[in-house]
């Protein structure tokens, strides 16, 4: 039995999905992110596009794809808000890149690791957003770190449910 090279191991563990999943899941996450806050009121401590970005970046293990997906999701979120377009884009671009880069090096099948990564990257996304808005752009911004912590917890809870569901949509060899 020959040993797998690093590239072969990476190719073997890449998750592949139908094209429809690539198109519909991010779109659904954006739509639900825009619609659900009207249902749950002020308890909208979640960021579905971020969770989906992390999931696909971890699964695909391609930093370029993770970067592009994060940028796209972030820009869409910015387009729906009244903030400058690119603040969420920058944050999620970096998150997508890091998630994919980490996914190359660790075992992403482990549910606990994925949720922990999700929690960490959520906080990182908030930090980057805050830094970009307050310091890079020099704009005034009211901020609540407690809310950001709750958002990271909410994203982790969603990841616990959503990741296994999305795993079922993988294309099996």
């Amino acid at each position: 039995m020959s040993l797998l090279s690093a590239d072969n191991r990476r190719d073997f563990e890449i998750h592949r999905y139908p094209l429809l999943v690539y198109a519909m899941v991010p779109l659904a996450s954006l739509v639900l992110q825009a619609w659900l806050p009207r249902v749950v009121g002020r308890y909208d401590w979640f960021d579905l596009p971020l969770v989906v970005t992390v999931y696909f970046a971890l699964g695909r293990r391609s930093p370029i794809q993770g970067t592009i997906m994060g940028a796209g999701m972030g820009l869409f979120e910015d387009a729906l808000s009244h903030h400058p377009i690119g603040v969420n884009g920058v944050a999620k671009t970096i998150v997508g890149f890091l998630a994919a880069s980490v996914g190359v090096r660790i075992e992403v099948e482990n549910q606990f690791i994925r949720v922990l990564l999700n929690f960490s990257l959520s906080l990182l996304s908030s930090v980057i957003y805050f830094f970009t808005y307050r310091f890079l752009l020099g704009l005034p911004l009211d901020w609540s770190w407690l809310t950001e912590l709750m958002r990271a917890v909410g994203n982790s809870l969603i990841a616990i449910v959503l990741f296994p569901l999305l795993d079922r949509l993988q294309m099996r060899e």
Binding site: D44, A71, S81
Partner: protein, 418 residues
Amino acid sequence: MEPFLVRYRNLVVLLAILMAQIAGLAVQVRHNSTGMNALPNSSDPPDPSSVRLIRLWGNAIISPPERLIHGTKIGLGSLWTNYIDLRHVRDENHDLQKTVDRLRLEQAALLEDARQGQRLQAMLGFQEKYIYTTVAAQAYGSSGSDRSHVFYIDKGSREGLKPDMAVITADGIVGKVRDVFSHTAQVLAVNDATSGAGVILETTRIRGILRGDAVGRLEVVGVTADQRIQPGEKILTAGGDLIFPRGLPVGVVEKVVNDPERDGMIDIIVKPAAHLERLDEVLVITSTEPRFSPQEEQDVATSESQKDVVPTAIKDQVKASEIMAEKLPGLIDPNLPPDKQPLNDSSNPNPAAPPPQPLHPDEFSPGAASTPGSDTGTEPAPDAQTKKPVVPHAAEGNGSKPQPTQGSKPQTTPRRNP
């Protein structure tokens, strides 16, 4: 060069995308005159066309499925409410019918009062703005982020919406239209940190600026500490921001906290009158110009014509009084020497009674050397006093008795020309 790009292609792509977005951000944020960066909102120029295009695309892609979901939810809700959950409807209908009958009677009385009030204000020339044209809209989506308290409504420029129009519900104010597309519009809620509206406390008449804080709570800022502000006091729009008409309900004072950034100032936490988190139907105020129904306009025109008649009658009365005064003998004739004045004319068979001499003369007595007018230098010119004979008070024509000014004594004698 090529191996470098290939080897670090991940980083190169990351940096390229980041730089592109940062460059785009730099275009959107402007440096204003106060030395602070600012977003292009209502007080600044609108979004650049390229940014607006991105928002338009985002809205065009997200809105249709979002409206579909919202419509489905509404449909299922109405299916349950209108066809399934109909217990006790007959009894409720009976009670409601009674209420409607009672309210109709009350409405008739109130309508008369309202019409009268409008007529009076129109006659007085008040420029009060009234809400006369609104567009009902359905709120269906949000920004998806609690950092941006905006929501979307299903009416746009085709329905006459424009930026900076006020959005309200029957309970109170909600926000203002920020961006308008053809069939949708983005509304900036009043609880956003970048929002602002002039408000006034109903009882204490203290003014402040309404905005949202980091967690989406409503607060009034820019208020000096005042013991009179108590929880429960109503807050209304002040009308000075040119967006919200005056007097619309905003909410009630929930509590008062010290402003952490400015000494002596307080922040008033507000419990909003409208349910900002659960909005369905909203009204967009598209016109606040004073406008009356044909009947009311006719009433106002009648009042205006009557208003013109009154000064004409007064002028006629004054003119008649002056003519009468010219025909009556005066006490002072400017064409006669002092010894021939009517008061001193002994040949007159019916001489005017000389004024009684004061028992205790003072500065106001006829012939006194100094008068208040002379002290202040405001004594009228002699010509003005001597050209016309004394006109009786009744000749002033308004039919009302002249009111003595404060501090003056009732004049019992005719004024003598000094």
